[in-house]
Point group: C2
Chain length 249, copies 2
């Protein structure tokens, strides 16, 4: 164990922030860590839009499902998968730029992964500086309006947001699945899933009971069962991505 | 600056490894850091297959485009987006499990992002322990054969591999794009792209000239232009994903 691993292992999502601003230096350190992350063939297919303005944060709070911490956090980062800059570069590279690069599922995966790897480095950097973060998948609730607000061009899409600020809460850490159902040796095996999930259901029920003073004791499997309804699965995403120039062919 | 940020900023991909094995303890620390990463609504939609066997590593080296480091590294991790375990959990959760959860682009994005966030924590943990890693996107070159080899069930797909081991090289660090073309304040702007990309072209040309003793001086834009040909874009991915039970609707 070392300080870096200890830091990652004590991660908690923070949803309440002090009013202290995030300094330029802190932001630059986060972004420099982000940029140092691995990237597919050096394509660096992501962009980050930082929103500090109160108007911007309030509007984004609305657009992400009225999440008050989005308005409250002094800095909100929108992590975008970006094939637009890559297409610009390919054009500047001369010759006959092949814009088919933007037209398939693989390019979409590369940009999405590049974005996530960079963002996770930024998250770890933030926490190493004493800041707290929470990822906001709700940025995909109303992606058209988010894209218009942030003037995202074709071939750029908002993957997730991230609130950043000084934590003003100390939430408990949510337990994770037993490693035995996540890690597989040599080949995938679901032989232990029923038992592992049952064990985790018990752990999560206890966690919720403790945290909520007994008010909530939902097992994880029930929670997953209940959460994944079609209307929660953002059925607009495919259409939005196409309208934004992405193809998933 | 602190040790964690310094560590992330000095990341280099390692493609030559000593024969020293990765210990169980090191692997467990990597995986515990991975599991502590943020996950969309706690769905934890990823699995990791660890391959240590020589036969497995050799075969995976072939399947990823004859990358010798895949066979050489003592540990190869295959990071998989996994909606199968989630579907199992939803089924165990009782009621009428709604398997539509697996049927759209949003579910695909959630699983892909969960996988990437976890993997990046594992990468940082590995480097904090003095190990080196390289991501292997080539795992998507022949994903059907990889899936068969690793017995990946429906609703699980190999997103990327990761070689892990003690570094036996000290490669130079590849420069990244100027921050000015990656970070945007309040809204996206491509006003500085032409200049920023030209600057980066010069930086990369110099980097290649120095590294290769003058033999290679490709600008980044030319490299991007040349690299992104349809045949390099794994046009099979959409079909493979569908055959693996994913829908991108």
């Amino acid at each position: 164990m070392n300080e870096t691993i200890h830091l990652m292992r004590r991660h908690r999502s923070i949803r309440q922030f002090a009013s202290t601003p995030v300094s330029e230096e802190q932001l630059e350190l986060m972004l420099s860590a982000a940029q140092a992350a691995s990237t597919s063939s050096n394509i660096q297919a992501y962009s980050v839009v930082g929103v500090r303005s109160e108007a911007g944060r309030s509007r984004l709070a609305e657009l992400t499902g009225n999440q008050k911490h989005v308005a409250q956090a002094p800095l909100f980062l929108v992590w975008c998968a970006d094939l637009n800059r890559l297409q610009t570069a390919a054009g500047l590279g001369g010759g006959q730029p092949d814009f088919e690069l933007t037209r398939n599922t693989e390019a979409f995966i590369m940009a999405t992964v590049d974005t996530a790897l960079a963002a996770q480095n930024a998250a770890v950097a933030a926490e190493s500086l004493g800041l707290g973060i929470v990822y906001i998948g709700g940025i995909r609730n109303r992606p058209r309006e988010v894209s218009d607000l942030l003037r995202l061009p074709s071939l750029v899409y908002p993957l997730f947001g991230m609130c950043v600020g000084v934590p003003d809460q100390q939430p408990d850490q949510r337990p994770r699945l037993p490693l035995s159902v996540v890690y597989h040796e040599e080949a995938y095996s679901d032989a232990g899933f029923a038992q592992g999930i049952a064990d985790y259901d018990a752990i999560m029920a206890e966690y919720y009971a403790k945290r909520a003073g007994g008010g909530r004791t939902t097992a994880w499997s029930k929670e997953m069962n209940a959460r994944f309804r079609p209307e929660q699965l953002r059925p607009h995403m495919r259409g939005f991505l196409e309208s934004q120039g992405f193809k998933l062919d």
